[in-house]
Amino acid sequence: MNLRKPITLLVMVAAAAFIAACGNLQEQPKLHKPFDASPNFDTAARVPLPEAVAVGTLNEDEHFYTGMVDGEFVETFPFEITAEVIAEGRAEFNSYCTPCHGNAGYGNGILSQEGFPPPASFHDEEIREKPIGHYFDVITNGQNAMYSYNSRVTAEERWAVVAYIRVLQRSQNVEMSELPDDLQAQFD
């Protein structure tokens, strides 16, 4: 009994069935993006309920988390600034900001000297007059070549950095007549 033909036929039928089975996967309905229209729901991904907030991200304090109130930059800090807060701001500033802004905030950091676009000096009159909330907003969302530090520095630390920037601005630009006598004596 010659079984070559039946075996060959069986193998060919099995191969054809195997190949045909694979094709169906390509033809089934598919939603390519999360918000594609879906026959079952409005979109492929379920839309969160109105006013739904992810756990731990309510961030209801607008002043604290955005540096703005009613669309305007705030002129005040959201919490009391102490020497400890400034020390923390100095540490964060020296870690994250000095490569571009420089230790004193003149915008002449080591990266700027090596060709990276230099940022504005904190001591320019226009920058000095910016409200406190502006600095917090720039650190949070970035500006021009500067990227966002929202995920790198906490909101508390960002406010601490803003406080330290105010210290730098006072340090590098103050009228002699505003200084107490003991400091004026240093210029004699």
């Binding site: 919490f79 009391e80 807060v85 000095t98 230790n103 340090s171 240093q186």
Partner: protein, 133 residues
């Protein structure tokens, strides 16, 4: 005649139409080819790269000639730069002498600002009170 037919097996191996001798040779060749491929793959992906890394110092792998321009004495340049910056933050001096604008040490500026008090919103809050929604 009938006795001779009874002695023959009911189904002989060659009745399947397969030559088991050839099949053995082909299988042996396939095993050898597989072994050669596995051997070359192991040599190329594992043994050779490891041997190369061990023999070549790391500095030769860094294409310094195409790196962004950096001063050859970077550490010295950074120290000089930092020294200037720290000097600005620790000394007294004039920014605009005619206008009476000066710079003072950051520590003194911090002391002045803390004495004045930083502007804080309405009810004074501590850090622990803020951002705890």
């Amino acid at each position: 005649m009938a006795t001779q037919n009874m002695k023959e097996p009911k189904m002989r191996l060659d009745a399947l139409g397969l030559n088991f001798g050839e099949l053995f040779v082909y299988s042996l060749v396939a095993v050898l080819i597989t072994a050669i491929i596995v051997g070359f793959t192991w040599y190329g992906l594992y043994w050779y790269p490891l041997s190369v890394v061990e023999e070549r110092p790391l500095v030769e792998e860094v294409p310094l000639e195409i790196m962004p321009r950096l001063p050859s004495t970077l550490e010295e340049a950074y120290d000089i730069y930092t020294e200037g910056e720290i000097s600005r933050l620790t000394s007294f001096g004039y920014i605009d002498e005619e206008a009476g604008i000066v710079h003072i040490p950051a520590a003194e500026a911090e002391r002045l600002l803390l004495e004045e008090g930083f502007p804080t919103r309405g009810a004074v809050t501590t850090r622990e009170d803020s951002g705890t929604d």
